[in-house]
């Protein structure tokens, strides 16, 4: 029909309109494509974030295993660390002994002895502790000798890496002749390390000596004032015997240790994901383990959520269900206003006011029973967590309030009609009906908190170590470092393209996927458990 019509229908009635065509599309279609293109920006940005994070960060695993960890092994640092671990175990036993001494001292003080008197009573104990500590001296001196030796080899590797980098730069700049002139040192690590390996016999001797002394010391325990402490000393002797029993294993490790064994790729991955140390620019060995940062982030978030969930959800329930309309009208905007507080201002508030205030509070005598009180450090996980709580509350409040608002009126009315009171209706009907929304609100609050940077950078204390969980809840008043904080702090100082730089991008990748995961979970929960209003 369309094909036959035009030739005959030149009548005055036909509406003729010039159609602009761009690439065969009508003008309206062009406009539609323009808008569709803009809508795709969100997808594109998400893709770009992924691409560029990986572009900068993905090389980390390769570089870490082929340079950082490879040098660690080839230069023999790993070899020395085997012995160093042995020494560290001994140090732990020393701390055990020191703790017993502290208990004994406390006991004597309680008995009414003066300080010098108590110290005099403990003289024999101190002598024993001194001998115990010195027992491992031969091993210690071996460690220090070897350390100097292997760090020298490591320096040679460093020089070589610099030379390679220089040549690479010259080549990239097109200066082939000059690049050829750059002298690249050859590091024969095997030969260089041989003296240390040959020294194993003398280590064995030292270890034997130490083992003998320790076994002897385990037999002649000092006196302890109470039976309980005596028991602890018995336990100490047992621990010492166990420790000495590990000596052959260490020797075996040294014997089978092989500098030429290649480092498998997965070690680089596991040392990042499960590494307990984040140590950079160290003279000994750099470690990029995300665990201390992850633990720090989670601890700070835990504090924040413990505060924000009851307060945020409580406020939402109050405003939505209990408050009078007048209260509703002003409380909601005020909480929305709190959400507009810039995080850097909150961080400054933490440094200037809250940190000190919390420490003062912790010194109040009748609060000293709380775990971790009095607080030693002004800036710690608790300070940062409190402020992050304030950041999370508006998020949780707004979303939870929405969820409560979406509960159909008929639910509540049915409940009232059955004779339930307001509280019963809230607890048994309204909250369960909106639970999925509330949980997703909490999850999104968690996402907001774990991605927050400035507050933790300023207030968390920035000590890169897994807190000492033996202090129980007291671990929460220790300073921590976080994933977001470490990126913000170290990104400005690293050399572009170095392993450290790429490690920071890896932390960013972890953070990125963590946030996606949290978001996804929040949506899933809302969809899955949504209650229909019908």
């Amino acid at each position: 029909m369309e094909s036959t019509a035009p030739s005959t229908a030149e009548a005055s009635f036909v509406i003729t309109k010039a159609r602009t065509r761009v690439f065969g599309l009508s003008w309206d279609e062009v406009i539609q494509f323009f808008f569709a293109g803009n809508a795709a920006v969100a997808v594109v940005v998400l893709a770009l974030i992924t691409i560029f994070l990986f572009r900068e960060g993905a090389d980390f695993f390769r570089l870490n295993s082929s340079q950082n960890l490879a040098v660690y092994r080839e230069a023999g640092l790993e070899y020395v660390d085997i012995v160093r671990d042995q020494e560290k175990d001994h140090a732990a036993l020393n701390r055990y002994l020191a703790d017993v001494r502290l208990q004994a001292l406390k006991y004597y003080r309680k008995q009414g002895l003066t300080y010098p008197e108590a110290a005099a009573k403990l003289a024999a104990f101190d002598d024993y502790a001194g001998r115990y500590s010195d027992a491992i001296e031969p091993i210690r001196s071996k460690i220090s000798d070897w350390s100097d030796f292997v760090t020298a080899i490591k320096t040679k590797f460093g020089v070589r890496a610099d030379q390679l980098a220089e040549r690479e730069q010259l080549l990239a700049a097109g200066k082939t002749a000059e690049a050829a002139k750059v002298k690249i040192d050859v590091v024969d690590a095997r030969k260089e390390l041989q003296p240390v390996l040959d020294d194993r016999a003398s280590y064995q001797e030292a270890a034997q000596q130490a083992a003998q002394q320790l076994t002897a010391l385990a037999r002649q325990l000092p006196e302890a004032p109470t039976p309980e402490l005596q028991k602890r000393l018995q336990r100490f002797a047992e621990l010492t015997r166990q420790y000495v029993a590990t000596f052959p294993a260490t020797e075996k490790k040294l014997e089978t240790w092989d500098a030429t064994k290649p480092i498998p790729f997965y070690v680089s991955v596991t040392s990042f994901l499960f590494g307990r140390e984040w140590l950079t620019a160290s003279f000994w060995q750099d470690w990029y383990g995300i665990l201390p940062l992850l633990v720090g982030s989670l601890m700070v978030s835990a504090v924040a959520l413990v505060l924000a969930v009851p307060l945020g959800v409580g406020a939402a329930v109050y405003v939505n269900q209990i408050a009078r309309p007048f209260e509703q009208r002003w409380i909601k905007p005020v909480i929305e206003f709190i959400s507009a507080f810039p995080s850097v201002v909150l961080g400054f508030f933490g440094i200037a006011v809250l940190g000190e205030a919390l420490r003062k509070l912790s010194q109040v005598p009748w609060l000293s029973g709380l775990p971790g009180f009095p607080i030693a450090e002004r800036l710690n996980a608790l300070t940062a967590g409190c402020l992050l709580g304030l950041i999370a509350i508006p998020t949780i409040f707004t979303l939870a309030e929405d969820a409560l608002n979406n509960v159909p009126r008929s639910f509540r009315e049915a409940s009232y009609a059955l004779g339930a009171s307001r509280l019963q209706t809230i607890v048994k009907i309204t909250i369960p009906a909106s639970l999925s929304g509330i949980i997703s609100a909490v999850l999104l609050g968690f996402g907001r908190v774990i991605g927050e940077t400035m507050v933790v950078l300023l207030c968390a204390g920035n000590r890169i170590a897994i807190p000492d969980f033996s202090a129980g809840l007291g671990a929460f008043v220790q300073p921590v470092h976080t994933m977001t904080g470490i990126i913000a702090q170290e990104m400005g100082e690293v050399v572009r393209g170095s392993i450290h730089y790429r490690a920071l991008f890896m932390v960013g990748i972890v953070l990125f996927f963590l946030s996606l995961l949290i978001n996804y979970a929040a949506q899933k929960i809302v969809r899955r458990y949504r209650i229909s209003g019908g």
């Binding site: 507009a340 440094i351 990104m491 400005g492 949290i518």
Partner: protein
């Protein structure tokens, strides 16, 4: 007993009403605890910061703090009195005193226990300017992209897998931590595109970060325009685009703009994304002092949130630094608060304006 005989349905006196009241009080206390902690933070900054920004004498405003660049503060003892002077004044003071002493034939004067503290004198003018530039530029980009995106989603798109995917991306983008945006901006704009630390890099980083907020707000505003408007326009023979331009956008625009102001507050308040993309710790020249127009876009700027970070973490906390720390925090908080309050008030007013 007597009551029941008269009215058998009367409520019995039990513990429950009192218990219920108690529980309600717990909820009330939780709410007021939140409000109180908000006020505590706000109040502290306002009370301590107002001392820097306002003065007791006319013009009641510390003009120098708002219009000067940061300077190093010198604290020293001279002639038995304690002086606090900015770097320029200190040098001038020293020269005149030395000249005076020379003229009088006395030995050179002694400046004792000189202590210098960076950034603690002068003002925060460059930081304010930088923040305004960053906000204006990034919001312009975000509004263009965001409104266009919202128009597609609310006017053109039919619910299908593609649109669902786009929505999923928007929701997920909203949850990405700001520091990750900073890393992304650094990797893409600063390094890959070679823009270095610049306004342009900061604009795009911030614009992408705030995009989900703008899209969601705009879509809500567009959807609030009644269907009948569109149907009437289409029935009169106008095209889709004409309908959108003449019958939808004019009515949605106020809503789009006011809701997007919340996005402005977020952009202005963020520090992490601009740390590696746009912000300098200190910069002598102001943004418009450039030799070429193109240089304007490729220069880094000072920004208020970053300046607050620098003065609160890189210099000690004492009486001399308090002035600039609280002052900067106060100005910044006021700026963001004004934006946020403005948007909330405007929205409440607009809600009642169009009655459909």
């Amino acid at each position: 007993m007597a009551d029941r005989e008269i009215n058998p349905f009367a409520t019995q006196a039990t513990w429950f009403p009192r218990f219920e009241k108690g529980v309600f009080w717990i909820f009330r206390l939780a709410t007021y605890a939140v409000l109180l902690s908000g006020f505590a933070v706000f109040g502290t900054i306002v009370v301590k910061g107002a001392g820097t920004v306002f003065t007791t004498r006319a013009p009641f405003l510390n003009v120098a703090f708002l219009t000067q660049a940061p300077e190093t503060l010198y604290v020293f003892e001279y002639d038995g009195a304690k002086h606090e002077l900015g770097a320029k004044d200190y040098r001038a003071f020293r020269e005149t005193e030395e000249a005076k002493a020379k003229a009088a034939g006395k030995p050179a004067p002694k400046f004792e226990s000189v202590e210098s503290i960076v950034y603690s004198s002068g003002g925060i003018f460059p930081a304010i300017v930088g923040t305004i530039l960053l906000v204006v530029g990034s919001m312009a980009i975000a509004l263009v992209l965001g409104v266009a995106s919202a128009i597609y989603l609310s006017e053109y798109a039919k619910n299908g897998p593609v649109v669902r995917f786009i929505r999923l991306a928007i929701i997920n983008l909203a949850g990405v931590p700001s520091i990750v945006f900073g890393l992304f901006g650094y990797g893409m704009f600063v390094i890959f595109l070679g823009w270095n630390v610049s306004l342009l890099a900061g604009w795009f980083t911030l614009a992408f970060m705030v995009l989900p907020v703008v899209i969601t707000a705009s879509e809500e505003a567009l959807r609030a325009v009644p269907r009948g408007f569109r149907d009437a326009s289409l029935a009169l023979g106008s095209t889709k685009w004409q309908t959108i331009r003449k019958a939808v956008l004019p009515y949605a625009l106020p809503g789009v703009l006011t809701s997007s102001i919340l996005g402005v507050a977020r952009v202005a308040g963020e520090t992490a994304p601009i740390m590696f993309t746009a912000a300098y710790v200190v910069r002598d020249r102001l943004p418009w002092q450039v030799s070429q127009v193109s240089d304007f876009f490729f220069q880094g700027v000072m920004a208020l949130p970053y300046h607050i970070y620098v003065v609160s973490s890189k210099i000690p906390q004492n009486v001399y630094t308090e002035r600039v720390q609280y002052g900067a925090a106060f100005v910044f908080l006021m700026l963001v608060a004004a934006i946020a309050t403005g948007s909330i008030l405007l929205r409440n007013r607009l809600r009642g304006r169009y009655q459909w």
